[in-house]
């Protein structure tokens, strides 16, 4: 146990700047989104903005109902920048096994009596725990800002809805983290993993976006993890995300098992 704790502690220490940065930026972003929503509500701007924004852009933002106070408050959980920041954080932290091979650190730590599987367990755990922490901080910041800044009398997304939204976002980031772990179990270059999965992220996001606008692309939408994260409908209580969460969790589990198998067989 002491060995595993040391490995996790070292990994957290190495990623502390990234974890702190993600936590601060994404939590502050929640506060800013709520602040913006309050100002728009006070100036009665939502209807005017909705008239200016083309329907496909509204669709990309999560649907027309995002342009309401309640919708915008939840927007901080499905804003593309928030989603990609969280996913890249998960991808980077889960790619640590490849970084250790790249920098020769594996000669130092894997030459000791540490079971190989623990390197995968460690990185998966650190990626999952830190994204959970970041999302928990985002949720706390969102709730605090809403309680503090929301104009009285407006309908707001309830805590359980926001929790489901946060959970779905979290599991989406875990899926990318698990993909990174599987890639890192085989690769020798960390940048290659982050770059490739970053491009894959953009491609899959565009696939999902295109599928919403163009019928022939809908056949492939199920291949995109974003198909399993319907932010605004969850925030507005129009969708139960349980099935989507289970699909994303299942995908993450399969990718993690692949990571264990490949890492056990590889040359370090």
């Amino acid at each position: 146990m002491r060995m595993f704790t040391a490995l996790v502690g070292r990994s957290l220490a190495r990623h502390r700047a990234l974890i702190a940065g993600l936590t601060v930026v994404l939590s502050v972003m929640q506060i800013l989104v709520v602040l913006a929503a309050r100002n728009l509500q006070q100036d009665r701007m939502f209807a005017q903005i909705a008239a200016l924004i083309p329907p496909f852009v509204q669709e990309a933002l999560g649907g027309s109902m995002v342009l309401s106070f309640g919708g915008l408050v939840a927007f901080g959980f499905f804003h593309p920048v928030v989603m990609i920041a969280l996913a890249v954080g998960a991808i980077y932290m889960a790619s640590e096994p490849a970084g250790e091979v790249e920098h020769g650190l594996v000669d130092l730590i894997a030459a000791r009596p540490v079971p190989r599987a623990w390197f995968i367990t460690r990185s998966g755990l650190v990626s999952a725990l830190t994204t959970t922490f970041v999302v928990a901080m985002m949720l706390a910041a969102n709730r605090a800002a809403t309680a503090w800044l929301a104009p009285a009398g407006l309908p707001l997304p309830g805590f359980s809805r926001m929790l489901r939204l946060a959970l779905n976002l979290l599991v989406l980031s875990w899926t990318f983290g698990a993909a990174s772990l599987a890639f890192a179990a085989h690769a020798r270059r960390r940048l290659l993993i982050v770059g490739s999965l970053g491009l894959a992220y953009v491609f899959l996001f565009l696939l999902h976006f295109t599928a919403g606008l163009w019928a022939p692309a809908r056949a492939f939408d199920r291949l995109s993890p974003f198909h399993y994260y319907a932010g605004l409908p969850i925030a507005l209580g129009m969708k139960d995300p349980r099935a989507d969460v289970l699909i994303l969790l299942g995908t993450s589990a399969v990718l993690t098992v692949c990571a264990y198998i490949m890492y056990a067989r590889r040359d370090l």
Binding site: R2, M3, A6, G9, R10, R14, D107, P113, D267
Partner: protein
């Protein structure tokens, strides 16, 4: 008693590239074994196979009778390892680095570590400095400390004295001799042949992935021809029959010989001649190793 390290037909290919091929070697318990070879010969691959960092294509390597592949963890529990390229966490202090690696090793002999810190002149201030700010030699000291601090029964040291100053090289040699006396098996890969000659009981020379030669330093001493220059007071006499095969050059007042084996018969043959001076070059492992390298080179052509 089984060997501490035993490689049996060990082969590792990296695609079409040969890492090691049909490597057979054995290291006895308590022995200091020098593992020599030019760059790219397969030394590091052998060490990484030993630590189960890479997997053999064929063959196997055993540590105290246990297969490094199937009993990987149990084998690694017995080994202290110093890699040739010293990987570091540059943001860590030396003390944190040793503590972290100690936690992964399970056992650290604190009293022994304190002695090593003193011997390698690592102060409390040095321990608190960031590893990224340390000189190459200082980082190497931390590498040696992390390898030795667990008092593992087998040490695998790859280029241990690279970057160390002469005082620290001496401290390292003293430590190796102390550990040897205590029964530790030491597998030492080095290009510093004087160090190998001084510390090792036996050497293995690897070339192009295969073991070109494995022998003891004592055997080498007996086997290697010694260069002898005999100067005479006046003109050189006729060469006695017993010395004819050895004399490579006969000058007006000197002979140059290459003499193999004990020196007694040669000195007996010189008895009664007007010898003014005798110079006998000391045994140098370097000459032998270079000879093996070049022989292999010629054979490859």
């Amino acid at each position: 008693m089984s060997a501490a390290i035993l490689a049996e037909s060990l082969t590792k290919y990296y695609g079409a590239v040969v890492g090691v091929e049909h490597l057979n070697l054995s290291v006895a318990r308590g022995e200091v074994y020098g593992f020599l070879g030019p760059n790219g010969a397969g030394k590091t691959t052998t060490i990484r196979l030993l630590l189960d960092l890479v997997r053999p294509t064929r063959g196997r390597i055993l540590v105290n009778g246990r297969d490094c592949r199937t009993s990987s963890r149990a084998v690694r529990e017995q080994i202290g390892y110093l890699p040739s390229e010293m990987p570091l966490y540059p943001e860590m202090s030396g003390a944190a680095y040793l503590k972290f690696l100690g936690a992964l090793q399970q056992r650290v002999d604190d009293g022994w570590l304190r002695r090593l810190l003193g011997r390698f002149d690592v102060s409390d201030v040095d321990l608190e400095r960031r590893l990224g700010d340390l000189s190459h030699g200082m980082r190497r000291k931390f590498g040696i400390l992390q390898a030795l601090m667990g008092r593992a029964p087998i040490l695998v040291l790859d280029e241990p004295t690279s970057g160390l100053d002469p005082l620290m090289i001496e401290a390292f040699a003293e430590t190796v001799l102390e550990l040897k006396a205590a029964g530790t098996t030491i597998f030492l890969s080095s290009h510093v042949l004087s160090e190998v000659e001084r510390l090792c009981d036996r050497v293995g020379i690897i070339k192009r992935g295969t073991l070109a030669r494995q022998t003891s330093i004592a055997e080498l001493r007996a086997e290697m021809p010694r260069r002898v220059r005999v100067a005479f007071a006046g003109a050189a006499p006729a060469i006695p029959p017993s010395l004819r095969a050895g004399v490579k050059q006969a000058g007006t007042d000197y002979w140059k010989l290459e003499w193999q084996g004990a020196l007694g018969p040669m000195l007996d043959a010189l008895h009664g001649l007007q010898v003014a001076d005798i110079e006998i070059d000391p045994f140098r492992l370097e000459e032998y190793v270079l000879d093996v390298y070049s022989r292999e080179e010629r054979a490859a052509r």
